[in-house]
Symmetry: C2
Subunit: 217 residues, 2 copies
Amino acid sequence: MTQSTAIEPVFNRLLQVAVEVFAECGFREATVREICSRANVNVASVNYYFRSKEALYSQALAFAFRETNRLYPQDAALDKSLPPEQRLAVFINNFLHKLLDDSQLGLHSKLIAREIADPTNALDDMMETAIVPQIALLEDIIRQIIKEPVDKVVVQRYLLSIFGQCLMFKHSRSIIDRLYPNLIADAAAIQASAEHIAQFSLAALSRLTLPKEQTTP
Amino acid sequence: MTQSTAIEPVFNRLLQVAVEVFAECGFREATVREICSRANVNVASVNYYFRSKEALYSQALAFAFRETNRLYPQDAALDKSLPPEQRLAVFINNFLHKLLDDSQLGLHSKLIAREIADPTNALDDMMETAIVPQIALLEDIIRQIIKEPVDKVVVQRYLLSIFGQCLMFKHSRSIIDRLYPNLIADAAAIQASAEHIAQFSLAALSRLTLPKEQTTP
DNA sequence: AATAATTTTAAACAACTGTTTAATACAAGC
DNA sequence: GCTTGTATTAAACAGTTGTTTAAAATTATT
């Protein structure tokens, strides 16, 4: 009696379940036995298919990235023909949904956020593959919004201000859920939050980069 | 031969070392043996003075809060006679330093940030004692800045935008250190970041709350 | 059909975990 | 000095961890 309920081979099943469990528990608290149990495979399978628990984690992380980018492609944000303000709004909305989606898709970003908050050796690989491109895209959008050329470090600061507003919903979710539970209730609420962040950021950008004109009427 | 090098009694030494180790490793990865080893006490001491590892963690967290508020009091931000814009700047600067100080003081906030990102049962106590007052203070400042009365949820959103920009430096520090290592290099750099956040937020607030006047010249 | 290669299994491994125990050392009180 | 209560200790406990092993089952190859 083989327990393989799915057509999926053991390797893939392990990978998917690993994302699930690592996202829930983190690397250390997650146990190989729990992963194997949920995947309906023997305990030894992890060491057979992947070399070790750590190698499985590494591959699960990479897999999570591939999945998020597959499920939430950011075509519209990439479209340079759109006005940059709109690109920013699309970027933020997409990013926030990617972060906060609680469905199975959301597990992937949960795992990623965990890796950022408490990095392992796997973070360095993650940087180049997934994070740097995102950063570059947002940098590009910001530069388009503030038309005049500005110092590199200024763009960095704007970028962090925008990213910070988004990531807060992920990293401090435990607090937001307790204080303002209705802010992340559903997809509509998430979109409303995204719109606020876009508005807030665009307001700041326009005010800060149109210099020396009408501070207060 | 008793190893008690310090005058501090065992109880206090355990508490201080616990903050250190829990901040470095998190609750689960931290081991009782490591804590006792660093405190130069026997392994059984944790269960003798505190009931369990979990109870020690809970007390260490409370201790960390007391220490941060003792070392970084926010008198200036509380001073209602100051103009609210200045209060905001002081609040952000103080908050950011509290978060990012790498000296021994910084360990406390590291532990707290960890608890927020990956909460245990101890979070609920933490909310009322330490977080709600901070939130209330910032809410008050925001309301003063936008003079007209606004909807509660609007204030919440502004608040999260400001907090988010600050917390990003803490929760995504691993990434910032890799991308823009000079942004958190020293106290001056931290202050510069704080000033940016204050400027950015004030710009957004003034633009968003002075409606229907000169959008673009 | 027989052989070879791969996959799956249960059991054991050694290391580490938080906690308990029971003996010892130490101090204070009378 | 002796007793009492507290503090400290080394050792052991029972449970869990990631990993290995060697046999069994399955699949692929000839």
